[in-house]
């Protein structure tokens, strides 16, 4: 009986996102036809490019990894009623502190064993992101400044802050006496995550790394915090009705800051794993990588549930990796961006469906009245 109702709510929950995805692909197909291509061929390329073979799937998982983190970041904040548009900036700062920690620990302690060094740099990335998010959380809880505006402003600030350190304090020219470079010093070898192809050769050319497991573990941790702890209960209460929560003795301001900090930790880890698993450095970045904004889409499609985020991050990973294959087939990869945008529009306008059914109802009623007459 209870299981039945659980299944029912599950179906009820995923029904709408699935419909939104389906509709978006249908509209995307129109754009593909516009380019003079066959949508079936295009979507076939998309799927085979992202799932056909372990090497391609590995590359899809590589793209999925940061999206799980940013998706978790956005959805965790959402649960507390906060809209963290700043995952982007927290990612940038997290990546920066990861490289900084790698250099600092390495120069103090020399070569650390991996099982110590990797957790250390991950922690540094998480703390960097948390600190950056805490600014917005603090301003919200103490001064009532809307987090949407502060996190947007902090996104752009973060890029310039990062560029400043890449250009100066963390540049190889400062630390290693080389010529000026457009990137930071490299992360020491023993702080880097293992790429899966080193263990399983079938992953071929793909660069998927153990960060994917850290991401999955984080999703489970987020689930546990949200649904199995007092902190999670309080955060969700504040998110659902902050006045009622306050009345019930829950400190709204404390939970707002905490939710923002935890959210920032996830986004910071996105930067940390990207640095430790793939790039090993931070580049001068005039434009941001966009994981934070895609993270919003991931969170919305995943219904702000950590396990839903896992599934929707994979979807967006498939889209982003498959886009390359579509490009090879001669279809502009921007189609994928268009599909992503339309998915969010449908999710945002959940009432579109309701709206359409209302019109239909009204028309039916009208028909009935006319029938009576």
């Amino acid at each position: 009986m209870e299981r039945d109702s659980k299944l029912k709510t599950f179906v009820e929950n995923i029904k709408f996102p699935l419909l939104a995805i389906l509709l978006s692909f249908l509209i995307g197909a129109l754009f593909i036809i516009w380019t003079g291509n066959n949508p079936l061929v295009a979507y076939g390329a998309l799927l085979s490019g992202s799932l056909g073979g372990l090497d391609r799937f590995g590359q899809t998982l590589l793209k999925t990894t940061p999206l799980i983190f940013t998706g978790l970041a956005v959805s965790f904040a959402f649960r507390c009623g906060l809209f963290n548009i700043g995952a982007e900036g927290q990612y940038v700062i997290g990546a920066l502190t990861t490289v900084a920690a790698g250099y600092i620990f390495n120069s103090i302690f020399g070569d650390l064993p991996r099982f110590i060094f990797i957790p250390l740099v991950m922690l540094a990335g998480a703390l960097g992101g948390a600190l950056w998010a805490a600014i917005a959380g603090f301003l919200k809880s103490k001064l009532g400044v809307h987090e949407v505006i502060t996190t947007i402003m902090l996104n752009y600030t973060s890029i310039h802050v990062s560029n400043f350190f890449v250009r100066t304090a963390l540049n190889p020219s400062t630390l290693e006496g080389t010529t000026q470079k457009a990137y930071t010093v490299l992360l020491p070898e023993s702080a880097r995550l293992t790429q899966l192809k080193e263990i399983i050769p079938w992953f071929g050319y793909s660069s998927v790394h153990t960060g994917i497991f850290i991401a999955i573990i984080c999703a489970i941790i987020a689930y546990f915090i949200l649904f199995k702890t007092t902190l999670g209960y309080e955060i969700r209460s504040v998110g659902q009705n902050s006045h009622a929560a306050e009345y019930g003795g829950i400190s709204v301001s404390k939970n707002l800051v905490l939710a923002m900090i935890i959210s920032g930790m996830f986004a910071g880890l996105a930067g940390a794993t990207q640095v430790a698993g793939l790039n090993y450095k931070v580049d001068m970045a005039p434009i941001s990588p966009g994981y934070g904004f895609t993270g919003i889409a991931v969170a919305l499609v995943g219904k702000n549930h950590p396990l839903g985020v896992l599934a929707s991050a994979l979807l967006f990973g498939i889209l982003s990796n498959g886009a390359r294959r579509m490009q090879i087939e001669g279809i502009p990869k921007e189609v994928v961006g268009i599909i992503q945008g339309i998915i969010i529009i449908f999710i945002a306008g959940e009432r579109i469906i309701k709206f359409v059914s209302e019109i239909r109802e009204r028309r039916n009623r009208k028909c009935n009245v006319e029938g009576v007459n």
Binding site: F83, L139, V145, M153, T157, G337, G341, G349, E350
Partner: protein
Amino acid sequence: MLSIIIAVVASALRLATPLIFASLGGVFSERSGVVNIALEGIMINGAFFSILTTEFTDSPWLGVLVAAIVGILTSLILAFLAVHLKADQVVTGVAINLLSASFTAFLLEIVWHRSGQTDPVENAIRAKPLPLINKIPIIGDLTSQLTPFVYLAILAVIVSYYVLYKTPFGLRVRAVGEHPRAADTVGINVYKIRYICVMISGALAGIAGSALSLGAISLFREGMTAGKGFIALAAMIFGKWHPVGAFLACLFFGFTEAIQIQASTLGLGFIPSEFLQIIPYVATILALAGVVGRAVAPAADGVPYEKGER
């Protein structure tokens, strides 16, 4: 030295121009109670379609008009979802931004068969010395470096101020943004006002985009707005949701950018360029935090209005 100062002032005015249009757009939308994060996306659409139109019709002013129309069409997505369907305005804005960035890049490939950027259009809107005025010593030098967009932007500020503060329509807009229920009670159509304001916002942001492409580098480049829409949003907040305030904030932000570009000529090379670049963002956060005169949003900003709800 004088010529350097004139160059900096002119460059500041040119850089501020797209921001002025877009932030005025923000003022209209948010004064009526609709948060417009989509300025960035509307701008990129305006930037693209103004170049597209000019390329094929050879008429840049038609390009500006089309940019405004495309801006209105884009803003209708926001209006429909946010006003009609009461969708989350921020989420909708984010979606429009993502969609517009991809859509323009997509059209770039369809029309020009390449990615990155278009060719420069021959007939762009460029700086022109004004007759008579260019004979006046300093002002003549300055004005000869300004495009017509600059004057148009200043005109837009005056008109916006007049409309919002001196007309019955403006009073209605502000009433709807502060207390939609009270406005509704006295017979103001809240939905209609919000629709109109979001559309004005779209037109202005579209023109802002054309000022960025047609009025500056004569071509369209993928992602060329590069956060300008958000700086305009920041200017609107820093200017306390007031047309003149937003205008002054845009000038201030334009100056910081101009100084940053000219830093070495001005002998300011010792200031890290990043410090100057973060000024608009940090200033906005400080303004919101109340450090430099508290900025307070219209009371009903971002709140969907449900008729007949208590």
